[in-house]
Chain length 179, copies 2
Amino acid sequence: MNALSYALLSVLNRKPFTGYELKKMMELFWQAKYSQIYPLLTKLEQDELLTFELIGQTSKPDKKIYSITEKGVAALKEWVIHEPASTPVMRDEFLVKLYAIGLTDPETARRIFNERLAAKNTNLARLQKEIDLMESQPDAGLTDMTSKLFGRYLLYKRKFRLEKEEIEWVNWAMSFIPQ
Amino acid sequence: MNALSYALLSVLNRKPFTGYELKKMMELFWQAKYSQIYPLLTKLEQDELLTFELIGQTSKPDKKIYSITEKGVAALKEWVIHEPASTPVMRDEFLVKLYAIGLTDPETARRIFNERLAAKNTNLARLQKEIDLMESQPDAGLTDMTSKLFGRYLLYKRKFRLEKEEIEWVNWAMSFIPQ
DNA sequence: TCCCACATGTAAGTGGTTACATGATTTG
DNA sequence: CAAATCATGTAACCACTTACATGTGGGA
């Protein structure tokens, strides 16, 4: 089984979702397209790691709400505890451009940095909003490791800190662009 | 042309390298295996974006030192300036495990965090060493955007800051694991 | 003595993206 | 009146990984 399978299982371990919802829920830590998610959910269901309930809808397409099975939880647990995590892969075209930034003029360089800054700021605001929402629930148990929200909360906090740090770096880097 | 092509061109824009060396030089901002790099270099050479000089060696295998052509520089410049950078993709299995960390016991959770910490600390030391080396050259012009080392320097500084921030986050996160 | 660095490649397979197909309801 | 949201899927293609193949010299 591949990492995407475990990403799906780990979200469903919190609570049941449709394939459509799963994509959004995973976005923070694993990105995948529907064309990859839907066939994999079918496969995981055939392997009895998931079950689904078909919900007929009138004004919207019918949907399948997936739940993790006991077998699914066991498989996820086994993977989390015993499989070594492979080294992270990061593919960011901005970094490639940055390496070659000297080819451009200062105006272009500033534009490239500013685009990055805008994207990071948008992202930061989204994260802040989500964190505020989580923290506003007094008894959510966000810092209780047995809570189903614990991992998700840590993940948001991590991403927030990293985005903030990158924004500071961009501002530092831009100070070397003339004018 | 794909992003890997531009990653190769951007390294060769600094100076000529073999395929073997290119892998290492790119590691900071784009990861690829030899099995992907070598055939692509052949293709880029056929497209006249690169040329190579064949160096016969006795005690080691022969090698091809690749250089970027004028056409290659033009293609790279065009891409950097006019192509919008696609949104970054990050695939990090540790984050998947983190999401499901509540499934484990405190001991396992601590182990997973400590492994992450160790990896990040090793990385940080490597980056620090490289940065020290760069900064020890007084007239390298690291903060001069027309210098061929400018992009590389900014990239190292960025990675360093982000690794450091993640280490701080891990330490914060670990404080919620009992005992 | 065994592993690592050097050095380049092919073949097969998996993972991931893009394009296509369908269609009502809600929001700007 | 157009675009986004909800909702699921297939087919074709491209990007990337794993396994295989070859061979010398130097350091632990």
